[in-house]
Amino acid sequence: MIFKIAIILVWIILSFIFALYFEWFDRKVYARFQNRIGPQITGYKGILQPLADLIKLLKKESIFPKGSNILFIKFSAISSVALTFFILLFIPFYDFNAPLSFNGDLILLFGIIVLIDFLIILTGYFVSSPYSNEGAARKVGMIISFEIPFGISVATIIAISQSITIRGTLSFQLLGIPLIIFAPLSFIAYLFSSMAMIEKVPFDAPNAESEIVAGWSTEISGRNLALFKLSSNLKMFYLASLGAILFLGGPVLPYFNNPTLSFLNPILNFIMFFIKISIIIFLITMIRSITARYRIDQVITFFWKTIIPLAMLNLILIIIFNLG
């Protein structure tokens, strides 16, 4: 049991470090797309900037508008980080082994990631500010849009690999073919749904600066805001990791545990996984660099009229193929 606790702690620390690293990566790439340099002062090439920002926010005073439900805001801030850490415990970084794994874990992960968004909505409603309420209302519209295609893409992977566990999908990909070959449309749906989930442009209507200040987080400050920001970074890392596992083979492709490289295998597997996560985050950053914000009704229309039919088509084709 002590060994298990130690593993969980190591996973949490690694997740924390990688989440901040990929936040830096995202900012740096975004800056380069805009012909800027990006963070460069704190640490080598500004790599410690996300950590500096987190500490700065943590050390700031918390200001609440009168009439807000402060207890719930605090609970929500802590829970959003805790639940994101929790779902990251299901992600294997260097082989099939993650601290937590059981039959049906993919369905559980799908549920928890949406639960975090519900916490954000409730936070927006419990802050007595019109901007927060408007942000929360927009977030509801976003959930109605992205949850279905996200679920369909996961269901497609389940249908192909015939397994509802992360371990099962990885085992299937040991045959040598990443699942993106069978489910390219689902990958597109997954990518756009992930962007909507972490509120990246063009799906940043819930915190659109030029319209509603900072949306649901307008009146959240200090350590509560720090935790929400950390949760957002962790979520981006989680979604990119899950995408890399479900569609690109995670740590098991293009090769897995080469017998001639015994002790180097975990490191090489991890590097493979790291590169795949970087590719997904690069794609997300690229899309947000070249697009402008959608209005909330455009987001709903885009997902329901384009992304859902695409994802559904892929799922139907897979099921017909399986039946054949």
Partner: protein, 101 residues
């Protein structure tokens, strides 16, 4: 055993998140609601009739996706028919919505 592991993990992640929270400043202040230039009123709940379609489709789909995900493990034609039906239903939402939203 797995239930104990899940509960233990949840306790640990909550504990760590709480420690990060405690690491932050405890200073708290209450203020009036932020308003930029002019004071704005609390927004009324926006309601548009077409949104009801999206809400009902969302509920139907949300339940359907989990079912499809699980039933797709055992290959059966019912899953396919079910999927075809909900895909066809999308065509109706297209017609209803084109000029409304």
């Amino acid at each position: 055993m797995i239930i104990i592991e899940v509960i233990l993990s949840l306790l640990i992640v909550y504990l760590i998140s709480f420690i990060i929270y405690l690491f932050g400043s405890k200073k708290t202040r209450y203020s009036d609601t932020y308003h930029c230039g002019e004071r704005i009123e609390e927004p009324k709940v926006k309601y548009k009739v077409p949104w009801i379609y999206y809400a009902s489709f969302f509920i139907a789909f949300d339940a359907a996706i989990v079912l499809v995900a699980i039933t797709s493990l055992s290959l059966n034609i019912i899953t396919l028919v079910f999927l075809a039906l909900i895909t066809l239903s999308l065509l109706f939402i297209h017609k209803e919505e084109e000029n409304d939203i």
